[in-house]
């Protein structure tokens, strides 16, 4: 009952901080052992005893046998509950591997196929104008497609960014009876398949109004695909702007339009720019709508407003089915270039999106020399209330499914 208020100094051995582990040291062994015995068992039974064979069945059955063996081993040492927990941990982890492995494979595959032709200068300096089946490897390239992609991307942003931001301002700052249907329709728009956007532009501009195929037509289709994500992300960051900021601007006598354009929007600039760049990353690889809008061309067309124009996705799509292996190699180089472009845009988006947080961290570091406790972002609420970070939106995430507000 009575408690020593201070520990006897004789007991003062140096302390060794430990982090209790949910998983013991021998658990890894159990895991590996179960996997090995599962595979052996299946090999004997499946390949030798039963008249079955083939790698698919072998791996499938091995996995099942592994889970069963692992489960029974853990069950005998730690009980049924722990066994289910461990088995589910393995299943969840394999599920994540099921996501990561093929996608890594895809990127590596495209890299290995495309790097050869991509590093040739011709890829950037020549078009397909004079390329025939007998043309050597280092002739012919995607210059016209690169130009087309850049021009179309620029036009897409020029159309969708102002419109998207203005729509978000309307939804969040102006509002009114129209806001609800607009929000619903913006959500619906984000679900429109890209091919439908292409068909729409084709039907309206080319078939009805008599435009020619052009890069600009493609840009309009792409802008339609990009608009909802710009609108929604902008709206989301606008919602995080504290109301006091608007009111203090209005209280100074600023007219509403100045308060919005010069006070509110600048605070969310990083968020909007991130949203736009991410929209570009998604738009740049869209292929389907190009088929009926910009069509395709194997020669340079500098003018995006008139005549068929190539771009990287359509270049790849049209070349990859070619019977000439040289063209197929050029197609893979185009595919790799697309991946690099997407990766670059994505990195840029994360960098821009992270800029305010970086500034904030630097500011904190200057103010408080003591190191902040290790990321408490998701620490249990009961102990980390003081360390809880301000809410931020991860702008690089994929769009939500729509939801009426």
């Amino acid at each position: 009952m009575s408690v020593p208020a201070t520990v006897d100094p004789a007991h003062r051995v140096p302390e060794r901080p430990v982090r209790p582990r949910m998983v013991g040291r021998d658990d890894g062994l159990v895991l590996v052992g179960s996997a090995a015995s599962g595979m052996s068992l299946v090999w004997v039974v499946y390949e030798r005893l039963l008249p079955l064979s083939g790698p698919v069945g072998f791996w499938l059955l091995s996995y099942v046998a592994f889970l069963a063996i692992y489960r029974s081993v853990v069950r005998s040492t730690h009980g049924a509950l722990a066994a289910r927990d461990r088995v589910m941990a393995v299943v969840v982890t394999s599920g994540a591997l099921g996501l990561a492995a093929p996608l890594t494979l895809i990127i590596l595959f495209v890299f290995s196929k495309g790097i050869g032709a991509l590093v040739k200068p011709a890829f950037f300096t020549q078009t397909l104008a004079k390329v025939g089946p007998l043309s050597p490897e280092d002739q012919g390239g995607a210059q016209h497609a690169i130009v087309g992609t850049l021009e179309q991307l620029g036009l897409t942003v020029a159309v969708s960014a102002p419109l998207g931001v203005a729509t978000a301002v309307f939804l969040n700052e102006v509002g009114g009876r129209l806001a609800r249907p607009v929000r619903t329709i913006v959500d619906a728009m984000s679900g429109v398949p890209s091919i439908v956007a292409g068909l729409f532009v084709y039907s309206l501009l080319i078939r009805t109004l008599g435009w020619s195929f052009s890069g600009f037509a493609a840009s309009l289709a792409l802008a339609m695909l990009m608009l909802p994500s710009v609108t929604r992300t902008t709206e989301e960051v606008l919602r995080l702007v504290p109301g006091g900021l608007r009111e203090s601007a209005l209280a100074l006598g600023a007219p509403e339009w100045r308060a919005t354009l010069q006070v509110v929007l600048p605070t969310v600039r990083a968020g909007v720019v991130t949203a736009v760049i991410l929209g570009m990353a998604r738009a740049v690889g869209e292929t389907a709508p190009l088929i009926m809008t910009s069509f395709n061309s194997s020669v340079m067309n500098w003018n995006p407003f008139s005549g068929p124009q190539s771009s990287l996705p359509i270049y790849v799509y049209r070349l990859v089915g070619n019977s000439d292996p040289g063209q197929v190699r050029r197609a893979w180089a185009g595919a790799l270039a697309l991946i690099v472009l997407v990766l670059g845009l994505f990195t840029m988006a994360r960098w821009v999106g992270g800029a305010p947080q970086r500034r904030e961290r630097r500011r904190q570091r200057r103010q408080a020399p003591a190191p902040a406790p290790a990321s408490a972002a998701a620490a249990p609420a009961s102990t980390s209330a003081a360390a809880a970070p301000a809410p931020t939106v991860d702008l690089t995430r994929t769009d939500h499914p729509g939801g009426p507000q």
Binding site: V56, L81, R84, D85, M88, V92, T93, G95, A96, G98, L99, A100, L103, L105, I107, V110, L163, A166, V169, F170, L178, V182, T184, I185, V186, D187, A188, S190, G191, S194, I195, V196, L199, F200, S203, L204, R207, T208, T231, E256, W257, L261, L278, T287, A288, P313, V320, A335, F346, A378, A379, P380, A381, S382, T398, H400, P401, G402, G403, Q405
Partner: protein, 331 residues
């Protein structure tokens, strides 16, 4: 309405008359509001125009085909007395999407859980960024990979399935061609929608109240017990929402499927056999060679796809808004 009637002595009248403060906006502010409202309205107009112009373009073909447009399986709009209908095309579109969801949803749930609850904390941010990056990889790339690499491997799986489980009608294959099939397309589309679905689910799972998770753990729950009792019920809206988003993408997917399948126009259950179809892919494949009726028929296909995805989208909104986490996400 009597806001300016100052004859009523304030405080003495029987019923208080609320003074409505008339907002007197400057012309500049009014122009600003008008511009914002016009931008908002433009989305309504654009979506309206989509419906109108698809319908306008589709009308000639729909008039020729009549109600059989929905029941016919063949696709010969440009033949002399051509007959065409969307039955087979829509059937296979749905089959591809279902196979994709069947594979992608469990993997997406597992991946989302892995990132939030199982992965070492240091990796969490990196994995999240990786998933979002993968969601931005163009479907064209998935299609190329499926055509040049995965198709063969998946044909091996299909062969094994049909040899060992061919008695199931779905796994039956006549002849020995396992490539360019519904199954292969479904798997590739599954990979394509996987990061998208994972991203949505992960984000909703991450909003599970920590107090509830700790409550479960404090009762002696294992990690999996906690996930089942707290995270999954809370994240149900995210699972449904992510799945519906994936479904919408899968139904509308064009290029990846166009690069993989070879079109077939019969309705049966043989998903492992060569040949499949999809609304988007068929539009992409036939656009270049279509005559005038053919073009109109393709626009009719586009109209059908537009209608289908709208239905899926609204269904998703409805379900997500009614779930607990869904309300939190969109609030």
């Amino acid at each position: 309405m009597a806001a300016t009637d100052f004859d009523v002595p304030v405080g003495l009248s029987g019923d208080d008359i609320p003074l409505s403060v008339a907002v007197n906006r400057s012309p500049a502010d009014r122009r600003f509001r008008l511009a914002a409202r016009a931008s908002g309205a433009s989305t309504l107009v654009v979506m309206g125009l989509v419906a109108v112009f698809l319908a306008k373009g589709a009308w000639p073909a729909l008039r020729i085909a009549g109600a059989r447009f929905f029941t016919r399986t063949e696709w010969n709009p440009d033949a002399a007395n051509g007959s065409f209908g969307i039955a087979a095309i829509v059937w296979w579109t749905v089959m591809i999407a279902l196979i994709a969801l069947l594979l992608a949803v469990p993997l997406a749930v597992a991946s989302a859980l892995f990132i939030n609850e199982y992965a070492p904390r240091r990796l969490r941010r990196a994995l999240t960024a990786l998933v979002d990056l993968l969601a931005a990889i163009p479907s064209l790339i998935y299609g190329l990979w499926g055509r040049a690499f995965a198709g063969d491997a998946l044909a091996g799986v299909a062969r094994w399935l049909s040899r060992n489980a061919g008695f199931v009608p779905m796994f039956d294959v006549r002849g020995d061609a396992y490539d360019s099939s519904t199954f292969v397309a479904g798997v590739i589309v599954a990979l394509m929608v996987l990061p998208i679905a994972t991203s949505v689910m992960r984000e909703v799972f991450a909003q599970t109240p920590v107090a509830e998770k700790e409550g479960a753990l404090a009762l002696g729950a294992t990690r999996w017990g906690m996930v089942r009792a707290v995270v999954l019920p809370f994240g149900r809206g995210g699972i449904i929402g992510g799945s519906m988003l994936a479904l919408g993408r899968a139904l509308g997917e064009t290029i990846a499927i166009a690069l993989i399948i070879s079109p077939k126009y019969v309705v049966d259950a043989r998903v492992l056999e060569r040949g499949s179809n999809s609304v988007g892919a068929l539009i992409a494949l036939k656009f270049g060679e279509a005559g005038s009726t053919g073009l109109s028929a393709l626009l009719a296909l586009g109209l059908a796809l537009f209608a289908i995805t709208l239905v899926v989208n609204f269904a998703a909104s409805f379900v997500v808004a009614r779930s607990r986490s869904g309300a939190g996400v969109e609030a």
